[in-house]
Symmetry: C2
Subunit: 227 residues, 2 copies
DNA sequence: CTATATTTGTGTATCTAAAACGCAAATAAA
DNA sequence: TTTATTTGCGTTTTAGATACACAAATATAG
């Protein structure tokens, strides 16, 4: 077979999860152009010839939402023949986690508006983006049970109760505070700061910081987690 | 941004693992054309405009090696800018497992020869296929510890010791025969047949058959495994 | 100012599942 | 017929997960 030239286009999509006040949200854009003009969609776009997939997905996310994120993980490549009305478009999906408060949204290229949506109140979505989101959410919920991800969703300094609430939300079930704390402490993944914070009534909470060094070390050792 | 036309080509690759006589092997082809003419490579090729990624990877595997396989799992999409000397080529890699004895190799399109290679004696490979294989092997070894895959690698009827030997090989460490048997039995995933087989000296072994129905049911229930 | 409500923070006892371990049964080979 | 080899299983031990209760430190209500 000779070098062919089928008209297949390649895109990347960035599914970005946020977390705030006990709610998980997803970053979406409102499309500026056809097809699906005015509809909501996952940020993303065409891969350029001289950039890697990772470069493309970071660039598109930045262009369409103003958000820069240091780590996006490749999730899956969606290649159904009819997933895009413009023709054959194959999309490589990535997902990442951030704390929304640390990022200002600024729509520009291709996007009318960029906005956070609560995961339980998603609007109608363009293309097969509903399906892509379902796959991603399933993956996230699976992943959190055996890998200590999720710290990226919190502020840099946070009380332990924030982490507990995050896991409760992600898992969709309560976790025992004492056992949860023991497990996290055994990982040595959090640094306790000298600061304390008072949130309304009750004893003030110590603030913690996520120790990324230690986390990378754990990953190298292949140590996993189980909630 | 308008509908662009970067010259990005899309390929699929099929990493097929085999297992025989205590050895894990991988199916490779010898390339018939440039680039890397005469060199060994992972079977695969360009995606056509009117076929899904899954259709493409099954087709290419069949064309290049004669092997038909019912399940290939998407692994990762490789998109480094310079991974193919012909230009920008992004490849979606899939992997699958079969028992080599059940399949006759027949090279044809694009391939001079199709051949099994012991995983520890791989030849020089084309493109970034060495890297792709490394990623795949890591994934396979990871996967086997928490999911009861691997049955596809055995014959339809097999003695328990075959399964044990397979796991020993894949994990690279011995497993306790009694505990391993208990775990597998608890899954109810094997049907014991009335047949027995004698392999050299020793007590004859009962033959077992993999129960695919039961396996699918387990997957639905989200039940996992741990060796 | 005092009493009450609220949240943080920790230790121990119990249960469950994994790991360790040895011996009998059935055959081939010597 | 004796010995070596492989299959096949049950019990004990250990480690980790789960369940559970009370003191400490603050805000709030009276």
């Amino acid at each position: 077979m000779s070098f062919p030239n089928p008209h297949i286009k390649l895109t990347v999509d960035a599914i970005v999860f946020g977390y705030n006040a006990g709610k998980i949200s997803i970053l979406l854009i409102q499309r500026k152009y056809e097809p699906f003009k005015g509809q909501w969609a996952i940020p993303g776009g065409f891969v350029l010839e001289d950039e890697s997939l990772e470069e493309a997905v970071h660039r598109e996310l930045k262009e369409e939402t103003g958000v820069s994120i240091n780590y996006l993980e490749q999730l899956y490549t969606f290649g159904a023949v009819d997933r895009d009305p413009r023709g054959r478009v194959v999309s490589v999906a990535y997902f990442g986690l951030i704390h929304p408060d640390g990022h200002t949204l600024e729509a520009s290229t291709d996007a009318e508006v960029a906005q956070w949506f609560d995961i339980d109140e998603l609007p109608a979505l363009s293309f097969d983006h509903k399906h892509i989101l379902e796959v991603t959410i399933t993956r996230l919920k699976g992943k959190i049970t055996y890998e200590p991800i999720g710290f990226e969703l919190l502020e840099t300094k946070f009380p332990f109760s924030d982490l507990e609430k995050l896991y409760t939300t992600l898992l969709g079930r309560p976790v025992d505070r004492r056992n949860f704390r023991k497990k996290i402490n055994n990982l040595n993944i959090l640094d306790e700061l000298d600061e304390k914070i008072s949130l309304g009534a009750g004893r003030p909470a110590s603030l913690f910081r996520f120790n990324e060094e230690r986390y990378k070390q754990l990953q190298k050792e292949g140590i996993i987690f189980e909630i």
